[in-house]
Point group: C2
Chain length 217, copies 2
Amino acid sequence: MRDTYHNELDEITSQLVEMTRLVTSAMQRTSTALLDADLALAETVIEGDQIIDAVYHDIEKRSFELLAQQQPVASDLRIIVTSLRMVADLERAGDLALNLAKLARRRYPESAIPIELRPAILEMAQVAERIITKAGAVIATRDVEQARELESDDDVMDQLHRQLFTVMLADNWSHGVEAAVDIALAGRFFERFADHAVAVARRVIYLVTGEAVIVAE
Amino acid sequence: MRDTYHNELDEITSQLVEMTRLVTSAMQRTSTALLDADLALAETVIEGDQIIDAVYHDIEKRSFELLAQQQPVASDLRIIVTSLRMVADLERAGDLALNLAKLARRRYPESAIPIELRPAILEMAQVAERIITKAGAVIATRDVEQARELESDDDVMDQLHRQLFTVMLADNWSHGVEAAVDIALAGRFFERFADHAVAVARRVIYLVTGEAVIVAE
């Protein structure tokens, strides 16, 4: 039978999984809002960020309390400290979805995405959704093999990111400066979003294997 | 007389101050590299990021060891956990200086900054330098009043950031898409850099006052 302390640790992990679900949903909605110029959907992401932030602060608070009251050692300590890091990555990923939603809102009623970039942005959105979903699964299962998979998703994201620049900087770009600036920022937001999902996965690898992982770029 | 344990805590704080100094120097060099198209200087920032990352990993390692071996409580625990957060902010600020240096390198032998944006970018560079210098002082002194000052520096940065867009999106913008994309990204890097300095200051406020601070956007 598990004691209150370990139940509390499990509860933090569950909250992290729940937070990942909220961020995944934000990313799904923001991608649609961006591609379809759906203002109402963008607004749900903008308002919903407060909920993600509230979960963030709650996980932080619980982790601190556990650290202070239980003085955990070894693997338990590692779980709590790693959770504090993962929650920061997830909060930031939520902010990046928020940034995308604000971009969609700013360009409404137009779409911020010109027609020839829709396939690339759609693919970036799909990779973003896939990678954050996997990050959530990895938090729940601590499956190191799956955690390593996120690296190749991230490589795909980086390729798509570079592709945007190739299109925008080509001579036949006809959408002007404002659209290019929006796309450059949107590309950056997607790419950073994937980086945070990868950081979460790397932290899980560290948790399980103790393997030093380079989270810094 | 202080014991080994508290000496170790002080040592972590000193390393954080040293890391802030490295990041400040990177920001100074990258700003000059960007404005003067100085490739050699940009390269020093790009290579120097490894040193910042090494200090980051060293502070992390020491903090973990202290947590594990000493099982600190109350204020000592808060110092260590907060240090772990500050070091992540500083590492990220270093990456943003690195991104700016890469941008300068990509546009070499041209400057990435068109003439009419030089004053704004120069001012952003000055604010960035000032705010990170203050963040370092705040880590060393735990001066809450000074920590609060960083908020107004950050407001100035945000205004300058908006100003870039006003210039780029005006009808008389003559530098084309590539320059605009570079400026949009550079603006974002400066603005995020300042955000991380502010986050460091907010964490110091938390450390001293226990005041809940909103680090999340």
